[in-house]
Symmetry: C2
Subunit: 389 residues, 2 copies
């Protein structure tokens, strides 16, 4: 990495939660100019007082920030890269707010996109009528494991070695990886946003085990090991089916998906013939407690922004997802929220009426050529048509 | 009650589990002739040795049995009343086995029928081609709370004050109640088997809380209070939706259904503004432990024989049951069993293609007049037609 390049690249970090604070401070420590945005003032109060954020753990030092603001226009003005670190439930609103102020060539990275994040973001920008040439991309996971531990103070437990990222259209991913590399050499190009979106492992490990341990979470305030005690053989049997449905959907969309079992093996080196065994053999899960409430991102984020879009991709590809659907329905009943309506449906992702091939065209090239109507039945559909996305 | 009548009435009790043993012994103690049947020999071994069953608890004494047998023909020959006390999952098979040996005017009582028990039983008898005039009826719940406590020894904890029963056709219910009254004055006539079937409260309290506590059941072997700890606000929120779906289905079938909240109030005097509160205020639930495995009747009986038929009635009546469906789907994933296929669907209940009015006709009169085909569209359908059930 190179100090001259650093001075040239400006970041905005959108969202001042655990992750956003860690990222903003770390980028500042690396020497970049960083603006930090948060919707509400209260998360910024202490940071404004000190002018930045103290880091401890895997990285330590004080990251002095440039602008600390609740004004999205001020936050993103003249920056090169906009790192969005809010829960995926915030992506829609940020897209709407930011759209009028986006500038040519800005790069937007959703950290992470969950499932369909970049597609949805792009669709909202399009609906607002903004025609700026920005690059929208999504990471497959969040690069830091970290937590706010005091006023303007964050602990970074670990930084991942590798994070996949994809832009839409996919041929722009190279540019995103290149631009990010000065700060994060860990980012690697995925084939497309379908790959980052359909390898969303949180969709498997978060909602169903939380539901199937809901009473225990509520009566013990999460005082049990989330994975080791919470994923018993019966629960593992359910999440195995969910994982299988996800992989079938991915395959139908011609996307390589890694199974949860494979993921545990290559991420943690966990051995096991079944998902249950592999989880029990994952040392990183020992002692890891459950959330203390069922009103938690594991449901309110992962159901609408991970499972609903996977099920919606399934609908498009003609792959039934009955177990995923049952989790969505039961979470809706538990939270008194219609997650089907709230979540990322094909319509919200801008995929309504598209075929699998057209979706590929969209994620690879950024637009779809819709054959013109009125062609006689049986006649081969030509390449002429309207560009819609 | 009258000793002369008693000598006239002979019972068969089919199923030598906790309930069947209590019922057989109690009936014998009351002075009736009782045969006890079980499919497998091992449950009968100790009872054959002693010639009967010892009762303790609410009733005590030794009930000497007439025949103790694994031969269904021997068990039901020349009896007046056949009390079936197996899990509902056994009803199909018993109907098939017993059909060839049924005699005119015998009364069959499913204790209880769960949902659709009598309809299914009748449908199977019909399919076997047996044309004997028997009365098939179902109780809404089981009259005893009891447990086998030793070899040929049962403890009766309590006997219910009132149990609703209905025959199919409903005009024969009076005869069932009259015949049973010499032994059980507690049996009362329900309007029809739709009423007994759709007021199946086990459908509400058994499958969903078991699923939503599955990991806790497996890791603690049920060492927590099933209702008090297992039905937290989040779980109560789910079962409230399930109950609401059941009531909507019942209403669409013109059946009065009691809500779970009302049921807790009149059964246990439990007060509460919500199902959660009423359950927490139910003294009978204090200390009641969970099952020690998820491979339990609460799922393997109540899903196929309670929730699947309620959902199937919903399909007929045009009432969606998304939360019930999600429980069926998730239980199927957990047990690796397709409960939709295994359970009591409209087809198995003999209701396929029937309208709500025709179902009423079937349960009230025992047969349905199907208007003849080929009537010109728009023409009023007459009463002429084929009798099909």
């Amino acid at each position: 990495m190179n100090a001259e390049i650093r001075e040239d690249i400006k970041f905005a970090v959108v969202g001042a939660g655990n992750g956003g604070c860690a990222m903003a401070a770390h980028l500042a420590l690396m020497g970049f100019k960083v603006n930090l945005y948060n919707r509400s003032e209260y998360r910024l109060k202490d940071i404004k007082k000190t002018g930045g954020i103290h880091l401890e753990g895997a990285v330590s030092g004080f990251g002095r920030l440039d602008k600390i603001t609740t004004d999205i226009e001020e936050a993103i003005r003249d920056v090169d890269i906009i790192m969005i670190t809010t829960p995926a439930t915030g992506h829609r609103n940020i897209a709407k707010m930011a759209a009028p102020f986006l500038q040519e060539d800005q790069i937007i990275v959703l950290n992470p996109g969950r499932t369909g994040g970049a597609l949805e973001f792009k669709n909202i920008i399009k609906q607002t009528g903004v025609r700026k040439e920005v690059i929208i991309s999504e990471a497959q996971t969040f690069i830091y494991a970290c937590r706010i531990v005091g006023p303007a103070r964050v602990k970074i437990f670990s930084i991942k070695d590798r994070v996949d990222v994809a832009a839409i259209p996919a041929y722009k991913t190279r540019k995103v990886v290149e631009k990010l590399s000065c700060a994060y050499p860990q980012f690697h190009a995925a084939e497309s946003v379908l790959e980052t979106s359909l390898n969303n492992i949180g969709a498997i490990f978060h909602p169903a085990p939380t539901l199937l341990n809901s009473a225990r979470i509520e009566t013990t305030e999460g005082d049990f090991q989330y994975y080791i005690d919470g994923i018993s053989p019966a629960v593992a049997s359910v999440i195995e089916k969910i994982d299988r449905e996800r992989i079938k959907v991915a395959n139908a969309l011609k996307v390589k998906a890694v199974s949860a079992l494979e993921w545990l093996k290559f991420t943690y080196g966990s051995e096991g013939n079944s998902l249950y065994e592999a989880i029990q053999n994952t040392k990183a899960y020992k002692g890891l407690k459950a959330p203390d409430t069922v009103h938690v991102r594991y449901i309110f984020e992962d159901v609408p922004e991970s499972l609903v879009p996977i099920a919606s991709f399934g609908r498009i590809a003609g792959v039934p997802t009955p177990v995923i659907d049952s989790v969505i329905e039961m979470a809706s009943a538990m939270h008194n929220i219609n997650y089907w309506e709230k979540g990322r449906t094909a319509e919200k992702l801008g995929l309504k009426g598209l075929s699998v091939d057209q979706i590929h065209q969209l994620v690879l090239e950024g637009e779809v050529v819709i054959p013109q109507r009125g062609i006689a039945e049986g006649e081969a559909q030509g390449a002429e048509g309207d560009v819609v996305a």
